[in-house]
Protein backbone atom coordinates (compact mmCIF):
# COMPACT_ATOMS: atom_id res chain seq x y z
CA UNK A 1 0.00 0.00 0.00
CA UNK A 2 2.86 2.37 0.82
CA UNK A 3 3.98 2.22 -2.83
CA UNK A 4 1.14 4.67 -3.42
CA UNK A 5 3.00 7.11 -1.16
CA UNK A 6 6.20 6.97 -3.17
CA UNK A 7 7.27 10.47 -4.29
CA UNK A 8 7.67 9.28 -7.92
CA UNK A 9 4.01 8.32 -8.09
CA UNK A 10 2.72 11.28 -6.08
CA UNK A 11 4.68 13.86 -8.11
CA UNK A 12 2.87 12.84 -11.30
CA UNK A 13 -0.34 14.05 -9.68
CA UNK A 14 0.94 16.92 -7.52
CA UNK A 15 2.80 18.58 -10.40
CA UNK A 16 -0.33 18.85 -12.55
CA UNK A 17 -3.09 19.29 -9.96
CA UNK A 18 -2.44 22.86 -8.60
CA UNK A 19 -3.84 24.70 -11.64
CA UNK A 20 -7.12 22.73 -11.51
CA UNK A 21 -7.38 23.12 -7.73
CA UNK A 22 -6.73 26.90 -8.06
CA UNK A 23 -9.52 27.20 -10.64
CA UNK A 24 -11.96 25.22 -8.49
CA UNK A 25 -10.97 27.25 -5.40
CA UNK A 26 -11.70 30.57 -7.18
CA UNK A 27 -15.12 29.30 -8.34
CA UNK A 28 -16.13 27.92 -4.90
CA UNK A 29 -14.76 31.00 -3.09
CA UNK A 30 -16.74 33.35 -5.37
CA UNK A 31 -19.97 31.44 -4.64
CA UNK A 32 -19.10 31.35 -0.91
CA UNK A 33 -18.37 35.09 -0.72
CA UNK A 34 -21.64 35.95 -2.50
CA UNK A 35 -23.57 33.71 -0.12
CA UNK A 36 -21.73 34.94 2.98
CA UNK A 37 -21.76 38.69 2.26
CA UNK A 38 -24.95 39.17 0.26
CA UNK A 39 -27.45 36.30 0.27
CA UNK A 40 -27.27 34.90 3.81
CA UNK A 41 -29.57 36.55 6.40
CA UNK A 42 -28.39 38.67 9.31
CA UNK A 43 -28.67 37.30 12.85
CA UNK A 44 -31.52 38.53 15.08
CA UNK A 45 -29.07 39.24 17.92
CA UNK A 46 -25.70 39.93 16.27
CA UNK A 47 -27.08 41.55 13.11
CA UNK A 48 -24.55 41.60 10.23
CA UNK A 49 -21.59 40.92 12.53
CA UNK A 50 -22.54 37.24 12.27
CA UNK A 51 -21.07 37.22 8.74
CA UNK A 52 -17.58 37.07 10.30
CA UNK A 53 -18.52 33.49 11.23
CA UNK A 54 -18.15 32.50 7.54
CA UNK A 55 -14.39 33.09 7.67
CA UNK A 56 -13.71 32.53 11.37
CA UNK A 57 -15.30 29.09 11.83
CA UNK A 58 -13.95 27.38 8.65
CA UNK A 59 -10.46 28.73 9.42
CA UNK A 60 -10.62 27.30 12.96
CA UNK A 61 -11.97 23.93 11.77
CA UNK A 62 -9.31 23.55 9.10
CA UNK A 63 -6.42 24.58 11.35
CA UNK A 64 -7.52 21.94 13.89
CA UNK A 65 -7.98 19.33 11.15
CA UNK A 66 -4.55 20.02 9.67
CA UNK A 67 -2.81 19.83 13.05
CA UNK A 68 -4.49 16.48 13.76
CA UNK A 69 -3.41 15.21 10.32
CA UNK A 70 0.16 16.40 10.91
CA UNK A 71 0.27 14.48 14.21
CA UNK A 72 -1.14 11.34 12.59
CA UNK A 73 1.35 11.57 9.71
CA UNK A 74 4.33 12.25 11.98
CA UNK A 75 3.56 9.30 14.25
CA UNK A 76 2.85 7.07 11.22
CA UNK A 77 6.17 8.19 9.77
CA UNK A 78 7.89 6.83 12.87
CA UNK A 79 5.89 3.62 13.09
CA UNK A 80 6.20 2.68 9.41
CA UNK A 81 9.65 4.28 8.91
CA UNK A 82 8.30 6.22 5.95
CA UNK A 83 10.04 9.54 5.27
CA UNK A 84 7.32 10.63 2.89
CA UNK A 85 4.77 10.90 5.72
CA UNK A 86 7.02 13.56 7.29
CA UNK A 87 7.23 15.42 3.98
CA UNK A 88 3.44 15.41 3.62
CA UNK A 89 3.11 16.64 7.23
CA UNK A 90 5.67 19.40 6.65
CA UNK A 91 3.84 20.51 3.49
CA UNK A 92 0.52 20.77 5.33
CA UNK A 93 1.86 22.96 8.15
CA UNK A 94 2.07 26.42 6.46
CA UNK A 95 -1.61 26.53 5.51
CA UNK A 96 -2.61 25.16 8.93
CA UNK A 97 -0.64 27.91 10.65
CA UNK A 98 -2.11 30.64 8.44
CA UNK A 99 -5.65 29.33 9.08
CA UNK A 100 -4.92 29.39 12.82
CA UNK A 101 -3.82 33.05 12.60
CA UNK A 102 -6.91 33.88 10.51
CA UNK A 103 -9.14 32.25 13.16
CA UNK A 104 -7.46 34.28 15.94
CA UNK A 105 -7.54 37.62 14.10
CA UNK A 106 -11.08 37.31 12.73
CA UNK A 107 -12.21 36.07 16.16
CA UNK A 108 -10.70 39.17 17.70
CA UNK A 109 -12.47 41.39 15.13
CA UNK A 110 -15.75 39.55 15.83
CA UNK A 111 -15.26 39.98 19.58
CA UNK A 112 -15.37 43.79 19.45
CA UNK A 113 -18.99 44.23 18.19
CA UNK A 114 -20.36 41.17 20.05
CA UNK A 115 -18.50 41.10 23.39
CA UNK A 116 -17.22 44.67 23.41
CA UNK A 117 -13.56 43.61 23.54
CA UNK A 118 -10.85 42.68 21.02
CA UNK A 119 -9.33 40.03 23.28
CA UNK A 120 -10.23 38.00 26.37
CA UNK A 121 -8.24 35.26 28.08
CA UNK A 122 -11.15 32.92 27.50
CA UNK A 123 -10.49 29.14 27.44
CA UNK A 124 -11.12 28.69 23.71
CA UNK A 125 -9.20 31.77 22.57
CA UNK A 126 -6.25 30.92 24.82
CA UNK A 127 -6.15 27.28 23.67
CA UNK A 128 -6.27 28.44 20.02
CA UNK A 129 -3.34 30.76 20.77
CA UNK A 130 -1.45 27.79 22.26
CA UNK A 131 -2.16 25.82 19.07
CA UNK A 132 -0.62 28.69 17.04
CA UNK A 133 2.50 28.44 19.25
CA UNK A 134 2.72 24.69 18.55
CA UNK A 135 2.38 25.35 14.81
CA UNK A 136 5.14 27.96 15.08
CA UNK A 137 7.42 25.57 17.02
CA UNK A 138 6.76 22.83 14.44
CA UNK A 139 7.65 25.12 11.51
CA UNK A 140 10.70 26.53 13.30
CA UNK A 141 11.98 23.01 14.10
CA UNK A 142 12.17 22.27 10.35
CA UNK A 143 14.20 25.45 9.85
CA UNK A 144 16.57 25.00 12.79
CA UNK A 145 17.60 21.35 12.53
CA UNK A 146 19.41 20.14 9.44
CA UNK A 147 19.89 16.55 10.59
CA UNK A 148 16.95 14.60 9.13
CA UNK A 149 16.58 12.06 11.95
CA UNK A 150 16.67 14.80 14.56
CA UNK A 151 14.07 16.98 12.84
CA UNK A 152 11.74 13.99 12.33
CA UNK A 153 11.96 13.19 16.04
CA UNK A 154 11.62 16.76 17.34
CA UNK A 155 8.78 17.74 14.98
CA UNK A 156 6.90 14.53 15.93
CA UNK A 157 7.34 15.27 19.66
CA UNK A 158 6.00 18.81 19.12
CA UNK A 159 2.90 17.49 17.33
CA UNK A 160 2.27 14.79 19.96
CA UNK A 161 2.45 17.41 22.73
CA UNK A 162 0.32 19.80 20.67
CA UNK A 163 -2.42 17.26 19.96
CA UNK A 164 -3.28 17.19 23.69
CA UNK A 165 -4.51 20.76 23.16
CA UNK A 166 -6.93 19.82 20.33
CA UNK A 167 -9.65 18.18 22.48
CA UNK A 168 -9.19 21.03 24.97
CA UNK A 169 -10.05 23.51 22.17
CA UNK A 170 -13.06 21.41 21.10
CA UNK A 171 -14.54 20.88 24.58
CA UNK A 172 -13.39 24.13 26.25
CA UNK A 173 -16.86 25.63 25.72
CA UNK A 174 -18.45 22.70 27.60
CA UNK A 175 -15.84 22.33 30.36
CA UNK A 176 -15.52 25.99 31.36
CA UNK A 177 -17.64 29.11 31.43
CA UNK A 178 -16.40 30.92 28.34
CA UNK A 179 -17.52 33.83 26.20
CA UNK A 180 -17.95 31.38 23.32
CA UNK A 181 -21.32 29.73 22.83
CA UNK A 182 -21.52 25.89 22.78
CA UNK A 183 -21.19 24.19 19.37
CA UNK A 184 -24.05 24.98 16.97
CA UNK A 185 -23.13 22.25 14.51
CA UNK A 186 -23.17 18.62 15.58
CA UNK A 187 -22.47 15.66 13.34
CA UNK A 188 -24.21 13.15 15.60
CA UNK A 189 -27.23 15.20 16.69
CA UNK A 190 -29.38 17.95 15.20
CA UNK A 191 -27.57 21.24 14.53
CA UNK A 192 -29.02 24.41 16.03
CA UNK A 193 -27.93 26.59 13.08
CA UNK A 194 -30.50 27.39 10.37
CA UNK A 195 -29.87 26.00 6.88
CA UNK A 196 -29.74 29.54 5.41
CA UNK A 197 -26.56 30.06 7.48
CA UNK A 198 -25.27 26.49 7.40
CA UNK A 199 -25.17 26.39 3.58
CA UNK A 200 -22.81 29.41 3.16
CA UNK A 201 -20.72 28.12 6.07
CA UNK A 202 -20.23 24.77 4.33
CA UNK A 203 -19.40 26.44 0.99
CA UNK A 204 -16.79 28.64 2.67
CA UNK A 205 -15.39 25.56 4.44
CA UNK A 206 -15.09 23.81 1.07
CA UNK A 207 -13.32 26.87 -0.40
CA UNK A 208 -10.87 26.99 2.54
CA UNK A 209 -10.23 23.24 2.25
CA UNK A 210 -9.45 23.69 -1.45
CA UNK A 211 -7.04 26.50 -0.62
CA UNK A 212 -5.19 24.35 1.91
CA UNK A 213 -5.06 21.55 -0.69
CA UNK A 214 -3.58 24.00 -3.22
CA UNK A 215 -0.90 25.21 -0.80
CA UNK A 216 -0.16 21.63 0.26
CA UNK A 217 0.35 20.52 -3.36
CA UNK A 218 2.64 23.46 -4.15
CA UNK A 219 4.66 23.04 -0.94
CA UNK A 220 4.99 19.29 -1.47
CA UNK A 221 6.33 19.90 -5.00
CA UNK A 222 8.89 22.32 -3.54
CA UNK A 223 10.04 19.68 -1.04
CA UNK A 224 10.43 17.07 -3.79
CA UNK A 225 12.38 19.47 -6.02
CA UNK A 226 14.64 20.29 -3.03
CA UNK A 227 15.38 16.57 -2.61
CA UNK A 228 16.08 16.23 -6.33
CA UNK A 229 18.38 19.28 -6.17
CA UNK A 230 20.42 17.49 -3.49
CA UNK A 231 20.40 14.38 -5.71
CA UNK A 232 21.92 16.35 -8.60
CA UNK A 233 24.72 17.53 -6.28
CA UNK A 234 25.62 13.91 -5.61
CA UNK A 235 25.93 12.96 -9.30
Amino acid sequence: MFKLFQPNKIFQITSKAPKYVLFLFIVVLSVGLTEALVLSPEDYKQSDAVRIMYVHVPAAWISLGIFSSITLLSTSGFIFKNKNFFLIAKSLAPSGFVFNIIALVTGSIWGKPTWGTWWAWDARITSMLILALFYAMYLISWRIYENEEKVFKISAIITILGIINVPIIKFSVDWWNTLHQPASINILSKSSIHSSMLFPLLIMTAAFALFSLLIFLMKYNIELIKIKNKGLDRL
Binding site: N8, S15, A49, I52, H56, T106, I222, I225, K228
Partner: protein, 75 residues
Amino acid sequence: MINELLFMNGHGVYVLSAFSFTLLSFTALYLVIKIQFIKEQSKFVAKFGYLNTDQANSAKSQRINKEILANVTNN
Protein backbone atom coordinates in the same frame (compact mmCIF):
# COMPACT_ATOMS: atom_id res chain seq x y z
CA MET B 1 -27.98 48.81 -2.20
CA ILE B 2 -24.17 49.15 -2.32
CA ASN B 3 -24.22 51.49 0.72
CA GLU B 4 -26.30 48.93 2.63
CA LEU B 5 -23.91 46.18 1.63
CA LEU B 6 -20.89 48.17 2.82
CA PHE B 7 -22.49 49.66 5.96
CA MET B 8 -24.10 46.38 7.19
CA ASN B 9 -26.05 48.07 9.98
CA GLY B 10 -22.89 49.60 11.39
CA HIS B 11 -20.91 46.34 11.32
CA GLY B 12 -19.40 46.81 7.85
CA VAL B 13 -16.01 47.88 9.15
CA TYR B 14 -15.69 44.68 11.23
CA VAL B 15 -17.09 42.29 8.62
CA LEU B 16 -15.13 43.71 5.71
CA SER B 17 -11.88 43.92 7.67
CA ALA B 18 -12.25 40.24 8.71
CA PHE B 19 -12.87 39.17 5.10
CA SER B 20 -10.08 41.44 3.78
CA PHE B 21 -7.60 40.04 6.32
CA THR B 22 -8.52 36.49 5.26
CA LEU B 23 -8.16 37.19 1.55
CA LEU B 24 -4.91 39.12 2.06
CA SER B 25 -3.49 36.20 4.08
CA PHE B 26 -4.46 33.80 1.28
CA THR B 27 -2.78 35.98 -1.33
CA ALA B 28 0.36 36.44 0.74
CA LEU B 29 0.72 32.71 1.47
CA TYR B 30 0.06 31.79 -2.18
CA LEU B 31 2.68 34.28 -3.40
CA VAL B 32 5.31 33.18 -0.85
CA ILE B 33 4.87 29.52 -1.80
CA LYS B 34 4.80 30.33 -5.55
CA ILE B 35 8.06 32.32 -5.26
CA GLN B 36 9.69 29.44 -3.30
CA PHE B 37 8.53 27.03 -6.01
CA ILE B 38 9.95 29.13 -8.85
CA LYS B 39 13.27 29.56 -6.95
CA GLU B 40 13.67 25.80 -6.38
CA GLN B 41 12.71 25.04 -9.97
CA SER B 42 15.26 27.56 -11.32
CA LYS B 43 17.93 26.13 -9.01
CA PHE B 44 17.17 22.66 -10.38
CA VAL B 45 17.41 23.81 -14.02
CA ALA B 46 20.66 25.68 -13.33
CA LYS B 47 22.21 22.61 -11.66
CA PHE B 48 21.00 20.40 -14.48
CA GLY B 49 22.74 22.72 -16.97
CA TYR B 50 26.13 22.07 -15.31
CA LEU B 51 25.88 18.28 -15.70
CA ASN B 52 27.91 16.51 -18.37
CA THR B 53 26.16 14.24 -20.91
CA ASP B 54 26.51 11.04 -18.85
CA GLN B 55 25.33 12.72 -15.64
CA ALA B 56 22.43 14.37 -17.50
CA ASN B 57 21.35 11.05 -19.01
CA SER B 58 21.56 9.37 -15.62
CA ALA B 59 19.50 12.18 -14.04
CA LYS B 60 16.96 12.05 -16.84
CA SER B 61 16.44 8.34 -16.24
CA GLN B 62 14.53 9.35 -13.10
CA ARG B 63 10.91 10.10 -13.79
CA ILE B 64 10.61 13.01 -11.32
CA ASN B 65 13.56 14.83 -12.89
CA LYS B 66 11.95 14.51 -16.31
CA GLU B 67 8.65 15.80 -14.91
CA ILE B 68 10.36 18.81 -13.27
CA LEU B 69 12.08 19.73 -16.53
CA ALA B 70 8.85 19.23 -18.49
CA ASN B 71 7.01 21.53 -16.07
CA VAL B 72 9.61 24.26 -16.52
CA THR B 73 9.18 24.06 -20.31
CA ASN B 74 5.37 24.14 -19.96
CA ASN B 75 5.45 27.17 -17.65
